[in-house]
């Protein structure tokens, strides 16, 4: 009996709710004269405010977009970020140089080795340390693997956001294989802390070389399968072509770099413009798009994965012999056998572990091509054991400003697709 009453009550409630909602809809559909907001976008009805809130499905990261929508069309949007502000720059003022590597891992955590290597190169530039060729080639291999890993996530998640979960599952397996290669090199899967100031901590072991060769053999097939699923897929193309385009002038004015800028037609790549770590020895192309829309960004990232494979192949074929670390005992831990026997090695070991390395006074800016663009490190040292000021030039932070402009006038589903094609990673956004 009580159930029947409860049921009737709930039915009545839902009927009332429906009635109330439809009343609102009637008000919304009445003949209201067209209004224009100050940017010229025309809207007829009352605007709805939709909170594309900090908690997103499918782990893009946490940032909030408050959208003003006219029905399904977006009129304007306002962004709030900072939900994962971890104060990296302030922490870095307390840590000796080699302890900051673990912080850089956690910025763009989909491609940690690139952040690590970029930081090591910045400090090496400050200290004036020359890295031997073999270490540079190993760094290139690891950075390109990280770039492939980053693009795997971005393109896979773009597929998931358009509804295609299969592509993501197929290609994510390759990321697990890249994790195995990382584990051979440094022991960790995701936040790698790879390399040291002055080179790499260990040489490429035979297992690592075997795994990289196996990766080069099996990844092309998977990538081709992934491309067959998406590149000429009618549904996917309808969702992403001409969605979220940005012109090259606007992109440059906003400070875009990386695949987002290359999709808009500007071929700016830090690896080519300011080569670092022997990138000038390798032959690779830079894929460039035309209209800067989501499809171009997707295709540019796919093509970059092919180019990264080329670079890894060349680096592995031409890997020079030699030490994997620089002969700079005051910055790179001397081998343990030396420490037990030799007095200077003991002193250097003690000084490095205590963090008392002699850093010159100066300021240096070094940029590397991260998965999302120009990742810059601005380091000011005052001669002490920790930096005086360290600033990260984070590409995600800079290009995410353009999001309201890119999704103006489009529908909500387009806005989601644009956000995932821009590859916004919250760790890098807030730092």
């Amino acid at each position: 009996m009580t159930e029947r009453i409860a049921f009737t009550q709930s039915l009545f409630r839902s009927f009332t709710l429906y009635y109330m909602v439809s009343e609102e809809l009637d008000i919304a559909n009445k003949n209201v004269p067209a209004k224009k907001d100050d940017t010229g976008v025309q809207y007829v009805n009352e605007l709805t405010t939709l909170n594309l809130g900090p908690t997103h499905p499918a782990t893009h990261g946490i940032f909030q977009n408050i959208l003003q929508m006219d029905g399904e069309k977006i009129v304007s949007s306002e962004q709030t970020i900072g939900y994962i502000h971890r104060a990296f720059e302030k922490i870095a003022e307390r840590r000796p140089f080699y302890q900051i590597t673990t912080l850089t891992d956690r910025m763009n955590y989909c491609s940690s080795p690139i952040n690590n290597m970029g930081w090591h190169m910045t400090v090496e530039k400050l200290l004036g340390v020359e890295i031997p060729k073999r270490a540079q080639y190993i760094r290139v291999i690891m950075m390109e693997l990280a770039r492939v890993a980053d693009h795997i996530i971005c393109n896979g998640i773009l597929g998931v956001d358009t509804g295609a979960f299969t592509g993501f599952l197929y290609i994510y397996q390759e990321r697990e294989f890249i994790y195995e290669i990382y584990e051979e090199m440094c022991g960790a899967r995701l936040t790698t802390n790879m390399g040291r100031i002055g080179g790499m901590e260990r040489d490429l072991s035979p297992t690592a070389i075997r795994k990289i060769k196996e990766f080069l053999a099996r990844f092309p097939k998977i990538l081709r399968e992934f491309e067959n699923l998406f590149n000429r897929n009618r549904i996917f193309m309808d969702r992403v072509v001409n969605v979220g385009g940005i012109s090259a002038e606007r992109a440059l004015s906003y400070g875009f770099t990386g695949p987002n800028l290359r999709a808009a037609g500007v071929d700016y790549d830090v690896r080519v413009m300011n080569p670092y770590s022997s990138y000038q020895d390798f032959e690779f192309d830079i894929p460039v798009g035309q209209s800067g829309d989501t499809y171009d960004r997707f295709m540019v990232r796919n093509e970059e994965m092919w180019q990264s494979m080329r670079i890894i192949q060349q680096a592995l074929d031409n890997l020079p012999e030699g030490p994997h670390y620089a002969d700079a005992p005051q910055y790179y831990l001397p081998p343990k056998q030396e420490v037990y026997k030799n007095m200077e090695a003991l002193i250097y070991h003690f000084k490095i572990v205590m963090g008392e390395i002699d850093a010159p006074v100066g300021e240096v800016y070094h940029a590397v091509e991260g998965g999302n663009g120009e990742l810059g490190f601005y380091l000011i040292s005052d001669g002490g054991r920790t930096p005086y000021r360290l600033h990260f030039r984070r590409p995600c932070f800079i290009y995410y400003q353009a999001y309201p402009e890119m999704c103006k006038g489009l529908t909500l589903s387009d806005a989601i697709v644009i956000m995932s094609s821009m590859n916004v990673i919250a760790g890098e956004l807030d730092a």
Binding site: G53, P54, T55, P57, T59, G61, I62, G82, Y83, I84, H85, R86, A87, K90, I91, T102, L103, D105, R106, Y109, C110, I153, F168, L169, Y172, Q173, R175, E176, Y179, R189, L190, T191, A426, G427, D430
Partner: protein, 181 residues
């Protein structure tokens, strides 16, 4: 073909032709433990390891978490993976409040458990400052096997929980200490 699929054993019961007599909490515990729907509250790096846990190699679906629900109203367990900043704290609490009982919370990673390496002005030093946590999975980030171990611990909790636990005074006192009514 079905020989190496591990089946869960039924609870102790008095069986007969067409009937089985057992106690409710054993049956309901069994059902709950093997169909926990997670709410992935993935913030940063641990979220990527959580994605690895969900995908094919370390499949989370075989533990019953086939449908990661992003709506708190339909989820059983809240997996907080990643750093929670003070700005995010109220939102996490809101999501927790929207979940229906019975609900379990798992803090994945060092940042969610205790603030991790970020002892700064902007990071909440552990989510147990704002919501009650059942299982902590340490690591930075924890391997997917560790996350699965955490899920298995929650399964143990769910299986052995008494049906009246959420209405007991002890539980109410716990919630009140977090200002949750």
């Amino acid at each position: 073909m079905a020989s190496d699929i591990k089946m869960v054993e039924g609870p102790e019961s008095y069986n007969g032709a067409g009937f089985q007599a057992t106690s409710f909490d054993k049956l309901i515990g069994l059902a709950r433990a093997n169909s926990l729907w997670p709410l992935p509250f993935a913030t940063s790096c641990c979220g990527i390891e959580f994605m690895s846990t969900m995908s094919s190699t370390y499949d989370l679906a075989r533990f019953g978490s086939e449908r990661p629900s992003f709506s708190p109203r339909q989820a059983d367990m809240l997996l907080v993976a990643g750093t929670i900043a003070k700005k995010m704290g109220p939102i996490l609490k809101q999501v927790y409040l929207q979940m229906a009982e019975p609900r379990w919370v798992m803090a994945i990673g060092a940042c969610a458990s205790s603030g991790g390496i970020f002892d700064t002005y902007s990071v909440l030093q552990g989510i147990d400052r704002i919501i009650p946590v059942d299982v902590y999975v340490p690591g930075c980030p924890p391997r997917p096997e560790q996350i699965l171990d955490g899920v298995m611990q929650i399964q143990e909790l769910a299986k052995n929980e008494s049906l009246r636990r959420r209405n007991t005074e002890e539980y109410q006192k716990l919630l009140n200490s977090y200002n949750i009514q």
